[in-house]
């Protein structure tokens, strides 16, 4: 496993797109922090990057990379290697390199300008979402045989998690607004890794608005160490499930 992983990482790290992604993150992070004299406001801008851009890039890049590695995968499969090893190496290779890119591009500026609980949570969630969306990309690539369909599918999944899910949640809230929905909403947030990440970062950051009203319910649940642990557990499940499903498919796949 280690060997393949090493080669995959070396390959991705040299990839131009990943270099551009790292550089872009770095430029954005440094500029939001240096343009805003208030680093808290810079963090707000970064929040959108972490919740929207990072998942999108991770999903699309990973999907494309897997399809482009098709022949390489064929080469590896003809070698004395377990398919499981190959697939997991690809996953960990992508996850590691993209995490590294995120850490250099966004993590280091955050540590420089905003090294507190909020900053750490932001970095942790950025890394978690990176891993989750690499996993989702593996699923998309595993489900669709053809490259265009695979990329389409992974963009659809990203759209679903970043926009459609929340729109549905909002719709649901309005339909049932006469009922107490806090607990259901808390459970619902576990169905979307982006929501989990967002709530955890916001609890560190914009606590003021969340603390009034029923924000107390979310805070009580997500704010204590049990809630934080459950959130991370939820994100781990989100990282593992799509990967395992795609792995099962890959094991049976004809190459």
């Amino acid at each position: 496993m280690k060997k393949i992983l090493k080669y995959v990482i070396v390959d991705i790290v040299q990839n131009k797109i990943v270099l551009i992604y790292t550089f872009l993150l770095l430029v954005i992070s440094l500029s939001v922090f240096s343009l805003e004299n208030n680093s808290a406001k810079g963090m707000l801008s970064l929040l959108n990057i972490v919740l929207i851009i990072v998942p999108l890039i991770c999903a699309v890049f990973s999907t494309i990379y897997i399809y482009n590695s098709g022949e390489f995968i064929v080469l590896l499969v003809s070698q004395p290697l377990k398919r499981r090893t190959i697939w997991l190496s690809l996953f960990f290779g992508l996850a590691t390199s993209l995490c590294l890119a995120f850490f250099i591009g966004a993590g280091i500026p955050i540590l420089l300008y905003h090294a507190d609980a909020t900053g750490f949570m932001m970095i942790a969630m950025g890394l978690c979402l990176t891993v989750v969306f690499v996993s989702i990309a593996m699923l998309a690539a595993g489900l669709a045989r053809d490259k265009a369909k695979g990329i389409g599918l992974s963009i659809m999944l990203w759209m679903y998690f970043s926009l459609i899910f929340d729109a549905l949640a909002l719709f649901f809230l309005f339909q049932f607004q006469d009922y107490p929905l806090e607990k259901i909403m808390t459970l619902m947030s576990f169905l979307n890794p982006i929501d989990l990440g967002r709530i955890q970062i916001l609890l560190q950051m914009d606590i003021s608005a969340l603390m009034g009203y029923t924000g107390a319910v979310f805070r009580e649940f997500f704010g204590n160490s049990l809630g934080i642990s459950l959130s991370f557990l939820g994100l781990s499940v989100w990282a593992a499930m799509p990967l395992l499903i795609s792995l099962r498919r890959f094991k049976k796949k004809d190459l």
Partner: protein, 418 residues
Amino acid sequence: MKTTIGWHVIFLSLPLFFSLPGFAQGKTIPVGKSKPLQSIQQAIDLAANGDTVLVDPGLYKEENILVRKSIVLKGVDYPVLDGQHKHAIITVKAKDAVIEGFKMQNTGRSEIDDIGAIMIFDSYRVTAINNILDNSNFGVYLQNSRSCLIKDNDITAYGKSELQSGNGIHCWNSDSIQIIGNRITGHRDGIYFEFVTNSLVWRNASVKNLRYGIHFMFSHHDTYIGNIFEGNESGVAVMYTNNIHMYNNFFLNNWGAAAYGILLKDITDSDISGNHFVRNTIGIHMEGCSRIKLHKNIFNNNGWAVKIQASCDNNEFTRNNFTGNTFDIGTNGSLVLNTFNGNYWDKYEGYDLNRDGVGDVPYHPVSMYSMIIDNNPSALMLFRSLIVSLLDKSEKILPGVTPEKLQDETPLMKRLPL
């Protein structure tokens, strides 16, 4: 405006000037273990108007010392008066009496009577200065009094629930009272006014009380300057009052479902300026308020800087700084009878082509999402999600839900130097 403040201060300071110990003519009666008199009450009974009763350090367990004369009761190095969890400590029914330099502790507690450390009834020009009140039910309790001064007292209680705890400084049906430089913590309400008029509350710190930092009603023509209200369970709430003046106060860190920097209910014809509202769930909550001028206030890092109910009218928000608030203005109706002019809003995204420092397009401080949360608090889960940002952006361009008229026509491009 400045002249008004000055006038208030000078006028209200007059009684202080006349009642200072130095001006008291008369003899001094010492009390202490090594002195002829060991009982404070005895010394007071012996004293005549204008005398000074000087109390040595030590522990005194007397039941409710009663002062009915114009005397100065003064402690040396804070003699301790202990109420033994049964009694009030000093009751004053006099004019021109001074209570100074004591440590009073462990008052009684009663369901029926209000029991406190310094009880002032039907008095005129009484001064309580520089005392330490520890574990009292009520700290200083004033009733039917005029022109009294409560200054530099340190008032601490350890109340656990609102119901079992008294107020730090409690004033009822009084006039021309001055509350200056006191530090109050752990009581139900730090300062409580009911039917208290023409009074001054200046430079007090009311911190971590169980309910409100200051709570008043029917207390007209009062002035509040330079006080700090921080971390009180429910912030500050004031009601049914006209002509209040609030300058340069600090309303800080009031978090929670029902906590406000300040709750204004049925307040009219008032002036609120130069105050700091920082890190409150709601900076100012206004209900049924009219003709309040709010200017040069700082709203920073609040959940809602201002929540203004549709029952408010003719209030003016001018030249305030709104920075780092999650929501600037919240409201519950579409009727807009209040004006916002020349404020600085850090969320303003307009432009200033003629470079006069005023933005060329109006700013709409009410976000759609804040209205959604108002109706449907569970929607908080979607806070700062992409869908909510998109809805908010489109609402800003084409207002549909939010009150279109609620806008600042002349938003400032730069933060005011406040």
